[in-house]
Symmetry: C2
Amino acid sequence: MIRIALDAMGGDHAPQAEIEGSILALTTLPATFRIVLVGKADVIEAELARHPEIDRSRLGVCHAPDVIAMDEKPLSAVRKKPQSSISIGLGLVKAGEAEAFVSAGNTGAVLAASTILLGLHDGVERATVGTLFPTSDVPCLVVDGGANVDCTSRELLGFAYLGTVYTRDVLGRPSPKVGLLNIGEEEEKGNATAKEAHQLLKTAPNLNYIGNIEGRDIIAGHSKLGQLDVVVCDGFVGNIVLKFYESVARLILSLVRKKAPDVLERKDIREVFRHLDYSEYGGAPLLGVKGVSIICHGSSSPNAFKNAVRVATTAVEHDLSGRIGAEFARREAANTA
Amino acid sequence: MIRIALDAMGGDHAPQAEIEGSILALTTLPATFRIVLVGKADVIEAELARHPEIDRSRLGVCHAPDVIAMDEKPLSAVRKKPQSSISIGLGLVKAGEAEAFVSAGNTGAVLAASTILLGLHDGVERATVGTLFPTSDVPCLVVDGGANVDCTSRELLGFAYLGTVYTRDVLGRPSPKVGLLNIGEEEEKGNATAKEAHQLLKTAPNLNYIGNIEGRDIIAGHSKLGQLDVVVCDGFVGNIVLKFYESVARLILSLVRKKAPDVLERKDIREVFRHLDYSEYGGAPLLGVKGVSIICHGSSSPNAFKNAVRVATTAVEHDLSGRIGAEFARREAANTA
């Protein structure tokens, strides 16, 4: 049995989108899967009452009286509101009453609460968000996707390992290729942190590091140096590029709508835009914490929540957290040997 | 008479693309405009011989024996090669024998040589590259577009003024709105430099600063806070976002080609992709130096060079350099008053 604790109060369209997404998810998941909606019980029950068809034995409710707003300072909000849907939901994972947590709430707060409540695996200096970017080929994992704004080169090195474990052990890519997001492929390129990180990555054991890559390589899904599975950058750059990407599909849609609206009626063209639609990729795993914690976009649709639940169950089934623990234990052992 | 010194050795397709672009430019410019091709005279003349139709009274050649390669370290290359096409071309501007310089060569070297040979206007701490990004509306100027990798908050403030002068006095937008590229609109968002820069920008006089903006706002051409004319960021982020953007149109083209190739035959759809094509926007002005220096993409096509020459002549006609000098003199006077 896999139980997902889902923050029902997190997103911009809470709790409707969360609840509709949960219902969608349960119809596609085997009968052994359960979802626990975490949040204000009266609000959730009122919304659930509109869906009498639901099998309530698979969809529970766990009351959490508080909500952390999007604009609250993450760390102080987590400290001030121990009864928030984020903290209560993560508490279920910590207590072994759920195998994963999914939230579209304040990203910084989910990161902070996951780090505090679940703890980090030994050897992990900082947890990171792994965001999948659609490419012309298989999607590419960007670490950090926006959670950690100022990063040291050592933290970037840690992100490379975390991303490697996820793409290898959960996404099933044999030897994931890692690139450092930079402004040129040459060694001497980049800001101070990127230059340092390149040197650390180059000599890091058990890492398939292909070198510096450029902004254009993310989407190509490869650089001159080969296919690309993991892109390492700090969360400042990651967040900006991610949001920029989201807006590009919207720009092209608006241009096509203006110049050739009939084209949008076509199924093949709609497929192109679906390929670029983030909600198809679901949530982003928080990598490095002891447990599975999945972060969704604030504006997630029911479909996005359904896909985030799928990301969560896949991470649980492939023992993401255990594999990260084992990888970092190996690194620590090698360092002290 | 306006004379443009054009680095014939700079780009990936030199000197063919440069020479074809010059010919294209001269056919569209009034008879009073001249172009001087700077570089290895024998190489240039050999290429020119293939175009006997050219009016050589409007297209001169200035010999420069050296070339700075794309992978050379900018500052040391500029010092070691005073006879490079970049330094000789900028020397023509310095000596008053040309009104502007255009190059698709090593960006860092053009920045360094322009700063050293032309000098900075009083009060300008660092010159910046202003790159126009296509949006669904009018293009948006990103400063820095990739030349200055590590920037202080004070330098970012300077970029805001430089971008304002260019969009106002050359592009003709009455009161350009300036945004700081960040990971959220709230005051407390961002890395250390962004937080500091936001505080400086907020209180800066004679600047239409609308606040922090996000990656998605660049392309929308506006944020929740209104239309957007100038986006301020360091060159590390600017370069990554720029190259990322370039690749997006390519991704969508490849997806459409795969799923619905016939659509690409349509004129209206080709217009959409042309809207996203950088070469339509020509070169990026280097802002802050005493003179007009235009940086082109290394892979510039003849059409891109034609447009870069247009950008150069427009900057000369609107006295870009003089207006930047006046703006910063006013700032300096206000600061010491």
